[in-house]
Symmetry: C2
Subunit: 339 residues, 2 copies
Amino acid sequence: MSRLAAAPTVHDVAQLAGVSAGTVSKALNGRGQLREETRKRVQVAAEQLGFRANRLAKGLIEGRTYTVGVLTSDSFGRFTMPLMNGIEDSLGAGSVSTLLCDSRGDPLRERHYLAELLGRRVDGIFVTGRRADPRPSLGPLPVPVVYAMSRSEDPLDLSIVYDDVQGAGLATSHLLAVGRKRIAYVSGPARHLSTRLRQEGTERTLLAAGLSLPPARVLLGEWSESWGRSAAHLLLGSAERVDGIVCGSDQIARGVADELREAGVDVPGEVSLVGFDNWDVMVEASRPQLTTVEPNLKKLGQLAANRLLHAIDGGELGSGLVLLPCDLVLRQSSMPSGP
Amino acid sequence: MSRLAAAPTVHDVAQLAGVSAGTVSKALNGRGQLREETRKRVQVAAEQLGFRANRLAKGLIEGRTYTVGVLTSDSFGRFTMPLMNGIEDSLGAGSVSTLLCDSRGDPLRERHYLAELLGRRVDGIFVTGRRADPRPSLGPLPVPVVYAMSRSEDPLDLSIVYDDVQGAGLATSHLLAVGRKRIAYVSGPARHLSTRLRQEGTERTLLAAGLSLPPARVLLGEWSESWGRSAAHLLLGSAERVDGIVCGSDQIARGVADELREAGVDVPGEVSLVGFDNWDVMVEASRPQLTTVEPNLKKLGQLAANRLLHAIDGGELGSGLVLLPCDLVLRQSSMPSGP
């Protein structure tokens, strides 16, 4: 294989610096008694040759591998990527590396990956997934575990998720603030926890304002644009017109916007819309562009990584459910007078 | 940290099996002379305690870490995820693990990550990125490197990409097959290689059929739905009407479909549309659903991983540019009589 360059060894560095291999090792590990001039000569030689200390050997000596596992229950995708970015930020650009494992929803595959990660002596593990619904705990392990954007059923575990109730509450408060009063909630399947929590956030906020969310204004279906269009069609056909809609996702909100526009209903003139996710592809292509709830997934990843690193360093991991607040991003779809 | 379970050691296994630690090591590594009965007793004890051999120590002895690096130039996202799935398939569910590094388009950050991966003694490296445009080579390294969905500028490197020219050719042939003759090409920025290659594929196929792609029917802009809408608007305003459009992405195709529908042009009755990417979110929400080019990213990942594993095992890596063929996925947007 002509493209393979021989990796320089300790002996190459020793020869160039004119010292013994033992001296090279001492100089690069910062151990032992050495003259500063010698240490510098070794460092220059190592640099010149592109010599890289073997981190694995270092890990075995220190009892750390500077590696963490990320175990996802169902594919790395749109939601896990910003989370991974945040994790990577906190892990410090490669000084701690991440091993990715995707169990694809298969519990057996997950056990296999877990054994693999422990066999590789990772310093800690993140568990994540697309769904907010509680999942079985991995149980007590020899390394700390953080459930990020994922809820362990065991309260002794540490789970960090964004706050669906508060996020939907923000959306609803905003609709009230722009003068909307007859508000509907259009969302995904009722079996998903996030659907129910976002409904709770919407309902609670309306109740606090002396309003209500009657069953006829709750439309639960699926996480798709086509459901958004169908739901809007149903709302248009009902006797009492709504003037504001909290949508469970940006895809749904976009479908609602399309259907309303094509039926001649002015958004946001007659109806204000708010989405959920702040997914650029959807919110920007929607006509009008979508006001939406930002779940701060990157921030969630950063926090999860900070907690895990703290525990790896011997600190307390903590336990229970940590809820991170969402933000609201304002665009055209919600404000009758324009932003 | 109450959630930390002590990991069982070789000594725990030895005690339970009633043998020495050395015997446990021999039994689990399949080395040395041991009675079958003893080997079995150790295995049962290890199983019972959930003992896991230290793969790092194993790696140091064998000179392999069963770890590969994945270095992406710009974020893990929509295109890299199916690729990663394919890589993971070929690597065999965790028996070889992947270390993810995202240089976020910063060459300095990439050098840093590369040093990190080599320091961790990965067995091989994948280089990937969102763009098809040629990128600088990492140069000769001590481990094999495969550029996957990425082109190295150095022909001595192995680069595997999908075939943009052939993919656009498939789309164009299909439009010809359903009777379209005045075909336009609407795509992303001219500075992107994939824009130019897809144009080449469209043009070549038209020329081979005795037709042409006049400059007025080439509209290059950006990779967005809003550009698709603008481009369709421009096409509607031109003197000669087109009856088929090859789009450089599904987002563009969807924008084109929306604009045509709202202008009262029947798709596919009057104009047939083909997208590129087979991105489920776009092709399914589009009205009508989009016929599109499938770039087979998962298959590309599998092939790249097979080539890398072969080289890690001492086989020839190979070099140059490998083009993987695309497929065409038929949906409603292209066939005047319906699929």
